[in-house]
Structures are given as C-alpha cells and as structure tokens.
C-alpha cells in the first residue's frame, strides 16, 4: 500500500513528464489549472497516465472534481483501497 507521499511523488513525475512542471512544485495544495498551468488536454494525459501507473480507473465525470493535486491523490488512495 503506497503512502500519500509516494502517490504524490509518482503523480508529480507524471505532471512533469506531461506538462513540464517542476516535480517539486506538484504539492497537495496546488491547483492543476490555476497553479500548475495544466490545460484540459494535458489533464486528460495526466489522468490516463495515472490510471496506468496506479492501476485505477478515473471516470470522465470524476476528472472535473480533481481540482488540486491533493484531490487526485485522495481519489487514487480511495480507489486503491
């Protein structure tokens, strides 16, 4: 069972790969759109890469609720349950 920090770090690597954001900036309180400048297509890429990485399914309807890095990490934690 991965810790919150491990999930955050793996997600940060994905955001870095997709959007070029410094992985250290990808912290739980950061907004994907407002703080990290991740646009909608990049967000879909992040979601697809995260599904593959963490072995979870993130429905399209859920994506709009994932406003911050913390929202995404919490969803992944719940899904991995």
């Amino acid at each position: 069972m991965a810790t919150t920090e491990e999930i955050r770090a793996d997600l940060a690597d994905i955001v870095n790969e997709v959007a070029g954001v410094d992985a250290d900036d990808v912290q739980l309180d950061k907004s994907f759109v407002d703080d990290l400048d991740v646009d909608s297509l990049s967000m879909v890429e992040v979601v697809v890469a995260a599904e593959e990485k963490f072995g979870v399914t993130i429905p399209d309807d859920e994506v709009k609720n994932l406003k911050t890095v913390g929202d995404a990490v919490a969803f992944i934690e719940r899904s991995q349950g």
Binding site: V18, A19, G20, L41, V44, E45, V48, E52
Partner: protein, 416 residues
Amino acid sequence: MPSTRVVVTGLGTTSPLGGDVASTWQAMLAGTSGIDYLEDDWAATLPVKIGGRVAVEPSEVLDRVKARRWDRSTQFAVVAADQAWADSGLEGSGLEPERLGVALASGIGGVTTLLANYDILLEKGPRRVSPLAVPMLMPNAPAANVSLKYGARAAVHAPTSACASGNEAIAMAIDLIRLGRADVVIAGGTEAAIHPLPMAAFANMMALSKTGTDDDRDPSTVSRPWDVARDGFVLGEGGAVLILESEEHARARGAKVYAEVLGAGISNDAHDIAQPDPEGRGGTRAIAMALREGDVDPATVVHVNAHATSTPKGDIAEGLMLHAVLGEHVDRCLVTSTKSMTGHLLGGAGALEAVATVMALHDRVSPPTINLDDKDPAVDLDIPTSKRDLPEGDIVALNNSFGFGGANVAVAFGSV
C-alpha cells in the same frame, strides 16, 4: 505581370544534410549524401532498409514539453520556421498579426503519430489513446502550430498534393501576398514518414529503390537521378521554410533579400493516380505558366532544381518538359537534382529544393547531382556532377515539383 512583387527574406531548414541552411547548403555544394542504413530495429524486416534521416534530431533544439505535443513533421516545421523567422529580422518589426500568414504543407500528415496510437489502441485499449492524437496527426498541424507560435492571423493553409505539396505552399504564399491578403507569409513544407508502413507501401508500389538492401551497394549511391541504373527514390525526412514578403514591405524595413519570387505555375495531369504523363504535358504547362506569370525571358533561365526523384519514367519526362519550354536555351541551363543527396522528402521536397534554388541564385552556383555515373541517353540536359558557377547579371532559376495525383508546380525565382 502581377503588380505586387514578392521577395524571399528568410530561410530555414532541418534536412538529412544538416540542421540548418548553412550546413545543408555547404553539404550540397560538396556533393555529400545524407542517405544511410536506417538504425531502427524494424528496418531489418523491410524490403528497403535505407533512408535519409535528419542530421540533427529536433529533440536537440526544441523544448521537450512543447515537442511532445507535436508530431515529428511539426517538429521539423517549427525548427525550420524558427530559423527562417530569425533570419528574416521580422521579430520586433511591428508586423501586424493580421498581415502575417502561414502556408505550410505536408504530403502525408502525422503518420507516425497515427500509427503509434493505433499500436497503443491494439495493445492497451481505447482509453490509452492520446487525447493529443488528432491535433498532432492532422495534416494542417505543422501550419497550425507555426501560426500559433508566430501569431499569424492572416491565413493558415496546408495545401496537400503529395510530393508537390511544399512547392504548392510556396505558390499559395505568393498568391496571398499578391491578392493583398498578407504582407508576409511563412511558407514551406515538411515530412516525417520514415516508418515501416509507408515505407512498405512505397516499396510495394515499386516507387522506392530496393537497391542497397540485400547487396553490397553503398546506400549513399542509391539515389541516382538520370543515371541508367536508377530504380526508384530513397525516402528522406525534414522540413524547410521560406519567409516570403511583399517587396514594398521588405524595402520599407530595410530587409535583406535573397531573391525575388517571379511567378508560379500549377497544373494537373489527370493522367494516372501515380504515374507521370510520359510526355510531361502537365509539367510543361506548369513551367510555362510560371515563366509567363513572371514575364521571364527563357534565355535568362540558367538553373533548374528538378523534381527528378530517381525513378525511370519521371526523370525522363522532366527533361522533355524543360526542352518544350526553354527550347534552345536549355543548352545553357544547369539542371540538378539535390534529391541525389537528400533523398525524397515528399511534402518537404519542394520547400527544401526552393531553399536550394534561392541559395543557388544568391551564391550564383549550382549544386551537383551525385551518383550520375552513366547518364541515361534519353536525357539531354546539362547536369553538373560537381558544383558549377552560374553567370553574372539578371538570372532566373526554376524549382519543379510533381506529385502523385497529378499535380505539377513550378516556381520561378530571380536574382537580386
């Protein structure tokens, strides 16, 4: 003659011979080949194992995050456009975005993106297909991304006519300026089709040479336009861009001018989907139209960068066209096929060869055709096998491109 004069004020390329215009041009003048064995693992399974990869990978010069959202063909276009734009001196010139256009072609579009995503679809399912696949693979993606980068709001065109696409984009750019729709157009072509599927398809239609694959022939000798041993083209990749500008706009800002674009001619064969008209009648009309539009005296045409791809029929037909249009003056015209060195860039070919044509006028020297050891007796043209000087005075050079589907495009450039 059209009233608005058009000039070339910037050049850029990334090609099998070099990562910019200077290195590509020097390699051309030296008669260097950019063709080699492909290092890709899949090449071992193909009937053709050689090609002209770009000399400098775009990943070496582009921002990684931006580049991953661009098909390889767009990456080449952006590299070439960045160079041409910097060369033109237009940055910070106050050019209105509404007066800047883009006409940038590819023959096949983002075929490697399309096929890579199909592989993902089969292996991992539809959920894994990239949300960026469509804006990456669409054939107007190179033009669109260059227009975004430079804020070009006058127009964004991506004409597609197979191997004539790059030259057609240049012809379209001339029209945009002469019709008053733009003062400056970023024009050119790009192609990135070195992938097993298009290569297998070109090989199966007998268009690609299979020489140099299962024998000891040096890959650099396989592209041999007009030679009796030619048996098909060699696939290259890359992009090239020219900044075309109204002469009035260029003069007002004191721009450096490489050459004048005198005229363009476009015609169609309506003969066969892939074979050229054996008598070259459509091409003849296109070349004649380019000279007529530019009010060019055939006696001043001293150089032709030919389409000549190293195929048995096409190379002969182009010779007939030049004889038909230039008549006796063809005898003092130096004709070259730089595809002997670069391979065939498909939709990028017309643009790369336009850059070479402009440089030939600017430096007054014709690049050679390499591998012409035994000229086909059916070809009666003066084809230098090492670089040869062009005359002083007002001179004209032609760039020809012909595409599957029947399109013929000729553009006439004049010295300044």
